[in-house]
């Protein structure tokens, strides 16, 4: 998925030249705008570099050997993970991807580079919202419940550890995740405190959501800024593409590459509203996969007629058209909430919303020296109250960067150094607190 996403975002890439404010303090991440940083990430020359000696292979975990997978997903042999291994005794870090992303997402790759350079073994996990996870590793195939997703993740980690433990020597276990994966990491750590398979020494959350429902609301709201609103997603996409094509035609570009992207950025081709729309759209493209996959797995009749058996050769065009136009909020109201209520009679909507939050396990997290959080001042999936909350929750083990949007600065060299520091150096400091 990563590459297709990257390509798609690349194709769409259009950025607002947001206000020039870079250079405050000593933080060198250059892109001031929140949306611009989110879309562009870190300029190539400032990213953490791939270690030269990286030894990595894929693990394919058959988590539910008895599961009969629908014919449509014939290509799914199990949950795919990346496994980067050191040739000596070393700590092992598990990494959890953000919404809709897989084990091989760019962000997880950069985190792997940072940790591998610092001498860690690394295993990367797809998000429980990713199709491969839903089909192969999700117990109930209905992602969104932090407690259930954490249990699924934990089972996968145990399976992965089972698979590799004879091949590597491990000193300690660590855990990190970005975005939704960061929020999930907290729940996984809590579960680990009960089950004690890993006894995670440290857990780092990079740009986590505090309350999932509210974060989703903020992302969905970005579509209100496009002409005609969320109902005109297709019109918006096509218009962006036209604009982009014109720019490409007129310019002296050889390829659709970073140089081109930067030119688009410099030209200020697209408004702030449009940049927000692009972010929400790429989010929707991810959620479309989640909604459709979950529906097929559970035969719920949400976007695919109940009892219809799809084959690999069937066109899924109409399902795509529908799924991409449903928001996470639709998913919550029409699919997830009824499902949870069936499971737990008496559960109210407000109760469920409140449960999808770090605040729900606040007692566990507060002052817990195990946790650290990396935040951005202009990350739009949380608000200032959330930022203040996280700062108060983790104290000196939280770090707030002045810019970076949502995850834009994750692969920035300094951030990766800080992440590794959080896991290792701060250990004593955190313990003393």
């Amino acid at each position: 998925m990563t590459h297709i996403f990257a390509l798609l975002v690349t194709l769409l890439l259009v950025l607002p030249a947001a206000g020039q404010a870079a250079g405050e303090g000593s933080y060198g991440y250059p892109i001031p705008g929140s949306y611009a940083a989110t879309i562009m990430g870190t300029p190539e020359q400032l990213r953490i570099e791939k270690p030269k000696n990286l030894s990595m292979k894929e693990l394919v975990l058959d988590v539910y050997p008895e599961r009969k997978k629908p014919d449509l997903f014939f290509y799914d042999d199990g949950l795919v993970c990346n496994f980067a291994y050191q040739k000596k005794k070393a700590p092992l870090a598990f990494l959890i991807a953000g919404t809709g992303s897989d084990h091989n997402s760019d962000k997880l790759q950069y985190m792997t580079y940072g940790l591998y350079k610092a001498g860690y073994h690394v295993i990367t996990l797809s998000s429980p919202t990713h199709s491969n996870f839903i089909v192969s590793a999700s117990k109930e195939c209905v992602p969104g419940d932090l407690t259930a997703d954490a249990a699924d993740l934990y089972k996968v980690m145990e399976k992965a550890w089972e698979t590799v433990k004879d091949d590597i020597e491990v000193s300690d276990f660590f855990l990190a995740g970005y975005s939704l994966g960061g929020t999930q990491a907290a729940y996984v750590a809590k579960l680990d405190d009960e089950r004690k398979t890993f006894n995670f020494r440290k857990v780092v959350m990079v740009n986590p959501a505090v309350n999932l429902y509210e974060s989703v609301q903020r992302i969905e709201a970005l579509l209100d800024g496009i002409p005609g609103g969320p109902r005109k997603l297709g019109v918006f996409f096509n218009r962006m593409l036209d604009k982009f094509t014109e720019f490409y035609k007129a310019g002296d570009f050889i390829d659709i590459n970073n140089q081109f992207l930067y030119a688009v950025y410099k030209a200020g081709l697209v408004s702030e509203d449009e940049a927000g729309g692009i972010i929400a759209l790429s989010f929707r493209i991810g959620s479309a996969g989640m909604i459709f996959t979950s529906d097929v797995m559970t035969n719920s009749g949400y976007v695919v007629p109940k009892n219809r058996v799809l084959q690999a050769s069937d066109s899924l065009a109409d399902y795509f058209r529908v799924s991409v136009r449903l928001s996470y909020l639709d998913y919550f109201e029409e699919y997830f909430l009824p499902y949870m209520q069936k499971k737990r009679p008496g559960l109210t909507r407000e109760q469920l919303k409140a449960e999808l939050s770090l605040k729900h396990i606040e007692g566990y997290l507060k002052g817990n020296p195990k946790f650290a959080a990396m935040l951005n001042e202009n990350d739009f999936i949380i608000d200032d109250a959330d930022r203040a909350y996280l700062k108060q929750l983790f104290g000196e083990r939280s770090k707030v960067y002045p810019r970076g949007g949502h995850l834009g600065n994750l692969e920035y060299r300094q951030n990766m150094v800080d992440m590794v520091d959080f896991l290792t150096i701060l250990e004593d400091k955190g313990g003393a607190k």
Binding site: M1, I4, D76, F253, F292, A312, R321
Partner: protein, 257 residues
């Protein structure tokens, strides 16, 4: 995936096999009756389609897409991975550079046919530089000297002269194409065979045809080695549409330049 070459000829057998395979259809029996879904496409008729590409042969294409997945999984990728395992990385790069350099000939005549002076000169410059300083094409020194690789093929030439792309088609093994790019592939392959016959590089060698077959095989392996895409690797259920759209878009962009 759509790297042409004399390889095309070698896959007639696979095409025949694929045609057979595409004949099977699963029949379903004894299922409870269908019930309509909560959301249907009719609700969203007021919006334009997204990522839309006309695809009249979608039934065939999706079967080929699946066929290619299996061909990759059980035949092609194991061979490519074996090659990557036994060959040192610098040698792999040398092989890629070598075949890319031969590809400059194709770029050269197509750029010429498109009346693109700079591109024609660039291809010529790259070929001459890499063939000499780059020791027969093993090293891509031209790129370091500022001559970027800008591949052209006959499909693009047709596009430049206003020939429409025709329907999208997923070819066995070669993957995403259009009717136009497939025509281009055939023409470029024909040109290649004609040139090889004229030059006959292995004519004076014993077992020349065996060597030629070996070189062709290596070229095919290298082409797959250079191609990072893998069918269904994204696990995204709508990958087919993404790939189709991105392929078409990328071709349109290539033709613009």
């Amino acid at each position: 995936m759509n790297k042409p070459g004399s390889i095309l000829m070698g896959f007639l057998l696979i095409i025949a096999l694929a045609a057979q395979l595409s004949g099977c259809a699963t029949t379903m029996a004894n299922l409870p009756p269908e019930e309509p879904a909560m959301h249907t496409v009719a609700e969203f008729a007021d919006d334009e389609k997204m990522l839309f590409v006309d695809d009249p042969w979608i039934g065939f294409n999706k079967r080929m897409y699946t066929f290619n997945f299996y061909a990759d999984k059980y035949v092609i990728l194991p061979v490519v991975r074996g090659y990557e395992f036994i060959t040192p990385e610098f040698a792999q790069d040398g092989v890629s550079n070598f075949f890319n350099n031969i590809g400059e000939i194709k770029t050269f005549y197509n750029a010429l046919l498109q009346a693109k002076g700079m591109k024609t000169l660039n291809a010529l410059g790259r070929f001459v530089t890499n063939s000499t300083i780059g020791i027969g094409g093993l090293f891509d020194v031209a790129t370091h000297m500022g001559m970027q690789r800008q591949p052209e093929d006959f499909g693009q030439t047709l596009g430049v002269w206003g020939v429409g792309s025709g329907p999208y088609v997923v070819l066995p093994v070669l993957g995403p194409n259009t009717a136009r790019s497939t025509t281009g592939l055939v023409v470029d392959t024909g040109a290649r065979i004609a040139m090889m016959n004229a030059i006959d590089p292995f004519g004076n060698v014993d077992n020349g045809s065996t060597i030629e077959a070996g070189v062709t095989t290596l070229e095919f392996i290298d082409a797959r080695h250079q191609q990072k895409f893998q069918y269904y690797k994204s696990h995204y259920p709508f990958e087919y549409f993404m790939v189709r759209y991105l392929y078409k878009q990328q071709r349109e962009f290539a033709i613009m330049k």
